[in-house]
Protein backbone atom coordinates (compact mmCIF):
# COMPACT_ATOMS: atom_id res chain seq x y z
CA UNK A 1 0.00 0.00 0.00
CA UNK A 2 2.73 2.42 1.02
CA UNK A 3 4.69 1.47 -2.07
CA UNK A 4 1.82 2.29 -4.41
CA UNK A 5 1.03 5.50 -2.52
CA UNK A 6 4.64 6.58 -3.05
CA UNK A 7 4.41 5.67 -6.73
CA UNK A 8 1.28 7.83 -7.09
CA UNK A 9 3.05 10.71 -5.37
CA UNK A 10 5.99 10.34 -7.71
CA UNK A 11 3.69 10.30 -10.73
CA UNK A 12 1.91 13.44 -9.54
CA UNK A 13 5.15 15.32 -8.96
CA UNK A 14 6.58 14.22 -12.31
CA UNK A 15 9.30 11.91 -10.98
CA UNK A 16 7.62 9.05 -12.82
CA UNK A 17 6.53 9.36 -16.43
CA UNK A 18 3.25 7.87 -17.60
CA UNK A 19 5.17 5.12 -19.40
CA UNK A 20 6.92 4.22 -16.15
CA UNK A 21 3.77 4.51 -14.07
CA UNK A 22 1.40 2.58 -16.36
CA UNK A 23 2.57 -0.96 -15.47
CA UNK A 24 2.62 -0.03 -11.79
CA UNK A 25 -0.97 1.20 -11.76
CA UNK A 26 -2.17 -1.72 -13.90
CA UNK A 27 -0.64 -4.14 -11.42
CA UNK A 28 -2.91 -2.52 -8.86
CA UNK A 29 -6.00 -2.73 -11.05
CA UNK A 30 -6.03 0.93 -12.07
CA UNK A 31 -6.81 1.67 -15.71
CA UNK A 32 -6.99 4.98 -17.53
CA UNK A 33 -9.92 4.70 -19.91
CA UNK A 34 -11.53 7.04 -22.39
CA UNK A 35 -13.36 9.16 -19.85
CA UNK A 36 -11.71 8.52 -16.50
CA UNK A 37 -9.59 6.27 -14.34
CA UNK A 38 -11.16 2.91 -13.53
CA UNK A 39 -10.30 0.74 -10.54
CA UNK A 40 -11.22 -2.94 -10.79
CA UNK A 41 -11.54 -4.69 -7.44
CA UNK A 42 -11.14 -8.43 -7.07
CA UNK A 43 -14.05 -10.42 -5.67
CA UNK A 44 -12.87 -14.05 -5.60
CA UNK A 45 -15.68 -16.30 -6.90
CA UNK A 46 -17.99 -13.29 -6.66
CA UNK A 47 -18.43 -13.94 -2.95
CA UNK A 48 -18.71 -11.02 -0.55
CA UNK A 49 -19.51 -10.85 3.13
CA UNK A 50 -21.74 -8.03 4.40
CA UNK A 51 -18.82 -6.05 5.79
CA UNK A 52 -17.06 -6.12 2.45
CA UNK A 53 -20.26 -5.12 0.64
CA UNK A 54 -20.71 -2.18 2.98
CA UNK A 55 -17.10 -1.17 2.43
CA UNK A 56 -17.60 -1.19 -1.33
CA UNK A 57 -20.64 1.04 -0.84
CA UNK A 58 -18.57 3.31 1.40
CA UNK A 59 -15.87 3.54 -1.27
CA UNK A 60 -18.46 4.35 -3.94
CA UNK A 61 -19.99 7.07 -1.78
CA UNK A 62 -16.70 8.55 -0.59
CA UNK A 63 -14.45 8.43 -3.62
CA UNK A 64 -16.67 7.69 -6.60
CA UNK A 65 -20.15 8.65 -7.76
CA UNK A 66 -22.12 6.47 -5.40
CA UNK A 67 -22.11 3.34 -7.51
CA UNK A 68 -19.88 0.73 -9.11
CA UNK A 69 -20.33 -1.78 -11.89
CA UNK A 70 -20.21 -5.53 -11.28
CA UNK A 71 -18.42 -7.24 -14.14
CA UNK A 72 -19.20 -10.46 -15.95
CA UNK A 73 -16.27 -11.95 -14.05
CA UNK A 74 -17.99 -10.93 -10.81
CA UNK A 75 -15.49 -8.29 -9.85
CA UNK A 76 -16.52 -4.71 -9.27
CA UNK A 77 -15.28 -1.63 -11.11
CA UNK A 78 -15.30 1.91 -9.87
CA UNK A 79 -15.37 4.12 -12.93
CA UNK A 80 -14.63 7.58 -11.60
CA UNK A 81 -11.85 7.45 -9.00
CA UNK A 82 -9.31 10.23 -8.88
CA UNK A 83 -5.66 9.25 -8.95
CA UNK A 84 -4.70 10.89 -5.62
CA UNK A 85 -7.57 9.01 -3.92
CA UNK A 86 -6.60 5.54 -5.12
CA UNK A 87 -4.15 4.73 -2.29
CA UNK A 88 -6.89 5.53 0.25
CA UNK A 89 -9.32 3.32 -1.67
CA UNK A 90 -6.83 0.46 -1.66
CA UNK A 91 -6.35 0.92 2.08
CA UNK A 92 -10.12 0.80 2.59
CA UNK A 93 -10.20 -2.42 0.59
CA UNK A 94 -7.35 -3.89 2.63
CA UNK A 95 -9.26 -3.09 5.82
CA UNK A 96 -11.82 -5.70 4.76
CA UNK A 97 -9.30 -8.11 3.25
CA UNK A 98 -9.87 -7.08 -0.34
CA UNK A 99 -7.57 -5.72 -3.03
CA UNK A 100 -7.28 -4.88 -6.71
CA UNK A 101 -4.05 -6.72 -7.46
CA UNK A 102 -3.89 -8.64 -10.75
CA UNK A 103 -7.31 -7.58 -11.93
CA UNK A 104 -5.78 -6.62 -15.26
CA UNK A 105 -3.41 -8.16 -17.72
CA UNK A 106 -2.32 -11.67 -18.46
CA UNK A 107 -2.84 -13.45 -15.15
CA UNK A 108 -5.24 -15.79 -13.39
CA UNK A 109 -8.59 -14.00 -13.34
CA UNK A 110 -11.99 -14.41 -11.78
CA UNK A 111 -14.55 -16.43 -13.71
CA UNK A 112 -18.29 -16.68 -14.24
CA UNK A 113 -20.37 -18.94 -11.96
CA UNK A 114 -20.06 -21.99 -14.19
CA UNK A 115 -16.32 -22.11 -13.60
CA UNK A 116 -16.57 -21.70 -9.86
CA UNK A 117 -15.25 -25.12 -8.95
CA UNK A 118 -13.99 -26.44 -12.21
CA UNK A 119 -11.97 -25.59 -15.23
CA UNK A 120 -13.77 -23.67 -17.94
CA UNK A 121 -12.47 -26.22 -20.42
CA UNK A 122 -13.72 -29.83 -20.20
CA UNK A 123 -10.50 -31.18 -21.66
CA UNK A 124 -8.26 -29.24 -19.35
CA UNK A 125 -6.41 -31.36 -16.83
CA UNK A 126 -6.05 -28.57 -14.31
CA UNK A 127 -8.61 -26.34 -12.67
CA UNK A 128 -7.66 -22.69 -12.16
CA UNK A 129 -9.74 -22.56 -8.98
CA UNK A 130 -6.93 -23.09 -6.45
CA UNK A 131 -4.88 -20.39 -8.13
CA UNK A 132 -7.89 -18.10 -8.16
CA UNK A 133 -8.46 -18.75 -4.49
CA UNK A 134 -5.00 -17.44 -3.68
CA UNK A 135 -4.55 -14.78 -6.30
CA UNK A 136 -8.16 -13.62 -6.05
CA UNK A 137 -8.96 -11.74 -9.28
Amino acid sequence: MAQFAAQVDRRLDGSLTEDEFRPLRLMNGLYLQLHAYMLRVAIPYGSLNPGQMRQLAHIADTWDKGYGHFTTRQNIQFNWPKLPDVPAILQALADVEMHAIQTSGNCVRNGPPTTRNSSSCRESSRSPSPARRTTAP
Partner: protein
Amino acid sequence: MSRRFTPKVVTANRLREGDVVYLTADDRWSPLHHAAELIEDEAHAQMRLLHAAAQKLLVVGAYLADARPGPQGPEPLHFAKSFAHAVRRTIPTLTKPSSAPAWPSSLPRWTAALTAA
Protein backbone atom coordinates in the same frame (compact mmCIF):
# COMPACT_ATOMS: atom_id res chain seq x y z
CA MET B 1 -2.09 13.84 -54.67
CA SER B 2 -2.05 14.52 -50.95
CA ARG B 3 -5.10 13.67 -48.88
CA ARG B 4 -7.19 16.46 -47.53
CA PHE B 5 -6.47 17.09 -43.87
CA THR B 6 -9.36 16.31 -41.52
CA PRO B 7 -9.68 19.03 -38.87
CA LYS B 8 -8.60 18.01 -35.38
CA VAL B 9 -8.92 18.87 -31.76
CA VAL B 10 -6.32 17.99 -29.12
CA THR B 11 -7.74 15.83 -26.36
CA ALA B 12 -6.29 14.10 -23.31
CA ASN B 13 -7.14 12.93 -19.80
CA ARG B 14 -6.47 15.08 -16.78
CA LEU B 15 -3.68 13.46 -14.79
CA ARG B 16 -5.33 13.75 -11.37
CA GLU B 17 -9.01 13.21 -12.17
CA GLY B 18 -8.78 11.22 -15.39
CA ASP B 19 -11.47 13.41 -16.95
CA VAL B 20 -11.45 13.97 -20.70
CA VAL B 21 -10.38 17.47 -21.62
CA TYR B 22 -9.82 19.44 -24.80
CA LEU B 23 -7.15 22.01 -25.57
CA THR B 24 -8.58 25.47 -26.22
CA ALA B 25 -7.10 28.15 -28.46
CA ASP B 26 -5.94 30.10 -25.39
CA ASP B 27 -4.10 27.09 -23.94
CA ARG B 28 -6.63 26.03 -21.32
CA TRP B 29 -7.96 22.50 -20.88
CA SER B 30 -11.74 22.43 -21.10
CA PRO B 31 -14.13 19.53 -20.47
CA LEU B 32 -16.30 20.92 -23.28
CA HIS B 33 -15.65 19.60 -26.75
CA HIS B 34 -17.17 22.66 -28.38
CA ALA B 35 -14.72 24.87 -26.47
CA ALA B 36 -11.74 23.17 -28.12
CA GLU B 37 -9.55 24.79 -30.72
CA LEU B 38 -10.47 23.40 -34.14
CA ILE B 39 -7.19 22.87 -35.96
CA GLU B 40 -7.39 22.87 -39.73
CA ASP B 41 -3.70 22.79 -40.58
CA GLU B 42 -1.67 19.60 -40.20
CA ALA B 43 1.60 21.26 -39.17
CA HIS B 44 -0.19 23.40 -36.60
CA ALA B 45 -1.93 20.27 -35.30
CA GLN B 46 1.42 18.58 -34.70
CA MET B 47 2.73 21.66 -32.92
CA ARG B 48 -0.34 21.80 -30.68
CA LEU B 49 0.01 18.10 -29.94
CA LEU B 50 3.63 18.56 -28.90
CA HIS B 51 2.58 21.49 -26.74
CA ALA B 52 -0.09 19.33 -25.08
CA ALA B 53 2.15 16.30 -24.63
CA ALA B 54 4.71 18.46 -22.83
CA GLN B 55 2.23 19.22 -20.05
CA LYS B 56 3.02 16.01 -18.23
CA LEU B 57 1.86 17.21 -14.81
CA LEU B 58 -1.54 18.28 -16.12
CA VAL B 59 -2.65 15.76 -18.70
CA VAL B 60 -1.87 12.28 -19.92
CA GLY B 61 -2.34 10.53 -23.26
CA ALA B 62 -2.77 13.59 -25.46
CA TYR B 63 -3.77 12.86 -29.04
CA LEU B 64 -5.42 14.43 -32.07
CA ALA B 65 -9.07 13.56 -32.63
CA ASP B 66 -11.02 14.17 -35.81
CA ALA B 67 -13.59 16.94 -35.58
CA ARG B 68 -15.74 19.18 -37.74
CA PRO B 69 -17.04 22.71 -37.40
CA GLY B 70 -20.41 23.02 -35.71
CA PRO B 71 -22.74 25.87 -34.85
CA GLN B 72 -21.40 26.08 -31.28
CA GLY B 73 -17.83 25.01 -31.94
CA PRO B 74 -16.06 21.81 -32.95
CA GLU B 75 -18.11 18.60 -33.01
CA PRO B 76 -16.61 15.10 -32.82
CA LEU B 77 -16.53 12.97 -35.96
CA HIS B 78 -15.96 9.54 -34.47
CA PHE B 79 -19.21 7.75 -33.67
CA ALA B 80 -18.27 6.78 -30.12
CA LYS B 81 -17.21 10.32 -29.30
CA SER B 82 -20.27 11.76 -31.02
CA PHE B 83 -22.47 9.45 -29.00
CA ALA B 84 -20.70 10.26 -25.75
CA HIS B 85 -20.87 13.95 -26.59
CA ALA B 86 -24.62 13.70 -27.22
CA VAL B 87 -25.14 11.73 -24.02
CA ARG B 88 -23.20 14.28 -22.00
CA ARG B 89 -25.29 17.09 -23.42
CA THR B 90 -28.62 15.43 -22.82
CA ILE B 91 -28.32 12.98 -19.94
CA PRO B 92 -26.90 14.04 -16.55
CA THR B 93 -24.85 10.91 -15.91
CA LEU B 94 -21.61 12.54 -14.84
CA THR B 95 -22.54 13.96 -11.47
CA LYS B 96 -24.03 12.27 -8.48
CA PRO B 97 -27.45 13.86 -7.94
CA SER B 98 -28.16 15.14 -4.46
CA SER B 99 -31.77 14.11 -4.99
CA ALA B 100 -33.65 12.32 -7.72
CA PRO B 101 -33.75 14.65 -10.73
CA ALA B 102 -36.91 15.30 -12.69
CA TRP B 103 -36.54 13.01 -15.66
CA PRO B 104 -37.13 14.44 -19.15
CA SER B 105 -40.35 12.96 -20.51
CA SER B 106 -38.71 12.65 -23.92
CA LEU B 107 -36.34 9.95 -22.66
CA PRO B 108 -37.24 6.30 -22.01
CA ARG B 109 -38.03 5.75 -18.35
CA TRP B 110 -35.44 2.98 -17.93
CA THR B 111 -32.65 5.45 -18.59
CA ALA B 112 -33.45 7.10 -15.27
CA ALA B 113 -31.65 4.19 -13.61
CA LEU B 114 -28.41 5.49 -15.10
CA THR B 115 -28.32 8.30 -12.60
CA ALA B 116 -29.70 6.42 -9.61
CA ALA B 117 -27.19 6.75 -6.81
